[in-house]
């Protein structure tokens, strides 16, 4: 028995070693992103599969709890971070991110490859998707939603809305900037006037959205693309986004590569891959956002609102003012 087992074991040992050597030779591209991007229902798995087929590498998504969580993690890790790429920051974080000095120019040409409603040119960040913030309502329960932000701010008290906290949530910050961009220095009064209609302010997007679905509020701050989810997955078009006359504030989500990326060549290749149709075509029905590059939109996106104006502060304006503006918001709602 002993004699017959030994050769078998030797073969097994050789196979295991060669396999592990092979595994070690496959380079790994590490991408920090937010949880829902990497999840089974997000775009992560499909993108991982396509890119692995063309790069002969192993894509490793590291899922963190939010876009601000991604930046925080990279800042904590500093130059020794294992990340090659961060995917899931937005324009509001770009200035802060660039100032850390941890990111490298991507070297990707954006000319003619993007389809954003605003001009976007940046040597460090590549946009991968975008969306409009909007108030979503149930058309079966609410026949005539407000048609402008001002109408909502001055609406009768029986309209109840639920929003997110700008300090903890991306849409929450989006609304803060939206109100500021419409009202300017009068934003504080606008918030005070809106205050009686705010049922509650939640930590995250889903807390608010689920409250709305449960009938706790008439409208919820979300994205103009949210109704597409309900059309595609739930088969209902009763949830609609209210189009506001002043135009809608935007969110542009971006990716960047790290200066000290362990796999700089692969990282550069991935940065270029972001705007390819293989990546972009996954976005609409997996991340429920508009693709930042060129890709066909599914039918469910046809009926979505088309805002008259896309509002967006520059990353520099946001970085310089957000603390003061959040203070203004806090004071107005604490009265």
């Amino acid at each position: 028995m002993h004699t017959s087992l030994t050769p078998v074991m030797a073969i097994v040992a050789v196979m295991v070693t060669s396999l592990s050597l092979q595994a070690a030779e496959t380079p790994v591209l590490t991408i920090y992103t937010y949880d829902s991007f990497a999840s089974e229902w997000g775009p992560g798995p499909a993108i991982e599969k396509t890119f692995e087929a063309e790069c002969a590498c192993d894509v490793n998504f590291v899922a963190l709890d939010s876009s601000i969580g991604i930046l925080g993690r990279v800042q904590l890790e500093g130059p020794s971070s294992k990340a090659d790429i961060v995917l899931g920051l937005d324009t509001n974080l770009m200035k802060t991110a660039r100032d850390t000095g941890l990111f490298a120019p991507h070297g990707v040409s954006l000319d003619g490859r993007t389809s954003l409603p605003v001009a976007f040119a940046d040597d460090h960040f590549v946009p991968f998707d975008w969306g409009y913030f909007a108030f979503v309502y149930n058309s079966e329960a609410m026949a005539t939603p407000p048609t402008s932000l001002k109408a909502l701010v001055n609406a009768p008290d029986d309209i109840r809305i639920v929003i997110q906290d700008p300090r903890t949530s991306t849409p929450g910050l989006g609304l803060l900037l939206w109100v500021r961009s419409v009202y300017g220095d009068d934003a504080g009064e606008a918030w005070a006037s809106l205050s009686p209609r705010i049922v509650t302010v939640t930590k995250g997007w889903w807390d608010a959205y689920s409250m709305f679905l449960d009938g706790e509020a008439d409208m919820v701050l979300s994205y103009s693309t949210s109704p597409a989810y309900h059309i595609v997955v739930d088969g209902t078009d009763k949830y609609r986004a209210a189009a506001f006359d002043e135009g809608h504030y935007m969110q542009v989500e971006v990716a960047a590569m790290l200066k000290n990326a362990p796999q700089p060549e692969l990282a550069r290749q991935f940065m270029d891959f972001i705007l390819s149709s293989d990546f972009q075509s996954v976005i609409p029905t997996k991340n429920w956002m508009y693709p930042a590059g060129k890709a066909d939109l599914p039918e469910a996106f046809d009926g979505l609102i088309q805002p008259v104006e896309a509002r967006l502060y520059s990353p520099e304006d946001v970085a310089a003012n957000k603390s003061a503006w959040v203070g203004e918001w806090q004071r107005a709602l604490s009265q």
Binding site: S39, D65, L76, E77, T100, V199, W206, V326
Partner: protein, 543 residues
């Protein structure tokens, strides 16, 4: 000094367990301070200042936490008495096994349950509408926060207070029945002396939980006016990336909570000593128990308790039942996440219970020997006052320099959960051990039982139910954890709450409700498993 010569005094010496416990306590204290220190020492990028209204926030937080704690006690106390004296006639004891569920629930899940009861389309509003009355107005604000805190904490208080009542010797109940003590007299002479020693510790525990409340405050508070220091800590850490400010705020939170813990511990004094084994059958009928007034009061207390603490759990069950359970059951990710969660929950739960046992024993021995116990109480309670995000970030900064944090993620999540469960396990064990110590000291001295043999033969069987409760509670707590895992989590390392979180982030309300139900069921099974195992342990040792 002469007293020291008596044989019984041998058991009054703290013994080797005391330095071991003190060592662990100092280690825990050092770890917490190191984590905060790491934050403060890393230069932040945030704007300076921003702490103008901090004292106002701290004062509001303390007010909110005190109110929540007192309200929870005000509900739990009459319910504990009702549960105790109606255990035989109304079978009110069935509430107890469910009583740990709220405290271990992820807040997001609990909030859906609360809204399912008190919301615009909730049970209460539906019932009012059925009667032709107006639906409830939106509940959000300080009131909703207080209601939620009572929901979370009153059941835990009920459990501990009920435990204190069961340790009243049957002989005292018999005397009280014979003398025909009035309701008030009985409370003052018999029940209060049993309840009093556990109440300060309980108040401290619940105060800290309410003081550091975070997601729930944001969800139900109605706006930034209702806030806690923890919200500012999170904001400093995440929104402003001002680590130094976050560290300072964490320190302030620690100081306030530490002061409350020390104050309340000093109130405790010596634990109530005349403990005997629990009576196995009902207590003699007390005068007035069958009066209509007394029965009405008990019925009202129990009904209120069920509405506040049980209905939200039922709302979660109702939401979760449905076709989505089948959808979810077909996900391979569900089984992977379940296994991961169970492994972490079982290991951190057992670890927390073992360490809590050492610390609680050390506390009892030190208390008997007249040594200070506050260092133990303080160091353990601190882990309720250090927010998970501060602890996690601090540990991350410290460990990053010496190890690969990604490889360590499962270990870190286990240890993190263990630290958070430790104060609960400690409170549960400490009360019972203190009560037992005096009762057993003389007996064990007489038999010459000491050290390991005493632990195995006498102490373990006697505290088996508490051991089961502590282990069940600790494991269940870590099964429901969403904070620690979010700090260290990655795609390869997925727990059930993390899966739930990902489901929610993609609009999937139905699946999220089904997953919540699954998580709740698993929590309950895990807890019951520990309780049954403890019961078997207790029986076998007695036989």
């Amino acid at each position: 000094m002469a007293a020291r010569a008596q044989p019984i005094a041998l058991w009054r010496r703290p013994g080797p367990i005391s330095p071991v416990g003190l060592g662990i306590a100092i280690g825990l204290l050092a770890l917490a301070l190191a984590a905060i220190g790491a934050l403060v020492s890393v230069a932040g990028h945030g704007p300076a200042g921003g702490g103008g209204n901090i004292l106002r926030v701290a004062a509001f937080t303390a007010m909110q936490a005190s109110l929540s704690t007192l309200l929870a006690l005000a509900l739990a106390l009459p319910v504990a008495r009702a549960c105790w004296r109606r255990a035989a006639t109304w079978r009110a004891g069935w509430l107890l096994p469910f009583s740990f569920l709220p405290v271990v629930m992820p807040t997001t899940v609990a909030a859906t349950g609360l809204i399912g009861v008190w919301g615009q389309r909730g049970f209460v509003s539906d019932y009012l509408a059925l009667l032709g009355l107006d639906r409830l107005p939106p509940i959000y604000g300080l009131g909703a926060v207080l209601l939620a805190h009572v929901f979370f904490n009153a059941p835990l208080m009920l459990r501990v207070l009920n435990g204190a009542l069961t340790s009243v010797p049957a002989s005292q109940w018999r005397l009280s029945a014979q003398w025909g003590l009035s309701e008030w007299e009985r409370f003052r002479q018999i029940e209060w002396p049993a309840l009093r020693p556990v109440i300060p510790g309980l108040l401290a525990l619940v105060f800290l939980l309410c003081f550091t409340s975070f997601s729930l405050i944001l969800m139900l508070g109605g706006g930034p006016a209702v806030t806690t220091l923890e919200v500012n800590i999170y904001t400093a850490l995440r929104f402003d990336f001002d680590l130094a400010l976050a560290g300072k705020l964490a320190l302030l939170q620690l100081v306030i909570c530490g002061a409350v813990v020390v104050l309340l511990t000093r109130l405790t004094g010596r634990s109530w000593a005349a403990a005997t084994p629990r009576p196995t059958h009902g207590v003699p009928h007390q005068k007035g128990d069958t009066s209509t007034f007394c029965r009405t009061v008990d019925a009202l207390a129990l009904a209120l308790f069920i509405i506040i603490t049980m209905l939200p759990v039922i709302a979660i069950l109702v939401r979760g039942l449905g076709p989505y359970l089948i959808v979810v059951s077909e996900w391979p990710a569900l089984y992977r996440a379940t296994v991961t969660s169970l492994v972490i929950a079982l290991s951190s739960g057992s670890l927390a219970t073992m360490i809590a046992l050492v610390l609680a024993s050390a506390r009892t021995r030190r208390s008997d020997a007249g040594l200070a116990v506050w260092p133990l109480d303080l160091s353990i309670s601190l882990y309720l006052a250090v927010s998970a995000i501060v602890l996690g970030t601090g540990l991350f900064i410290l460990l990053r320099q010496v190890a690969d944090v990604f490889l360590l993620a499962p270990l870190l999540v286990t240890v993190g959960n263990m630290l958070i469960a430790l104060p609960f396990a400690y409170r549960v064990l400490e009360g019972r051990l203190a009560a037992l110590a005096t009762a057993h000291d003389r007996l064990c001295a007489g038999l010459g039982l000491r050290g390991w043999r005493r632990l195995r033969r006498v102490t373990l069987p006697a505290i088996a139910p508490e051991l089961g409760f502590a282990a069940g509670l600790s494991s269940a707590l870590s099964l429901g954890d969403m904070t620690i895992v979010a700090l260290f989590g990655s795609q390869q390392f997925q727990t059930l709450p993390w899966l739930l979180y990902q489901t929610m982030a993609r609009y999937r309300a139905g699946e999220a409700a089904a997953l919540s139900l699954w998580l709740l069921t698993l929590t309950f099974l895990l807890f019951m498993g520990f309780t049954l195992a403890a019961r078997m342990l207790g029986r076998r040792r007695h036989a």
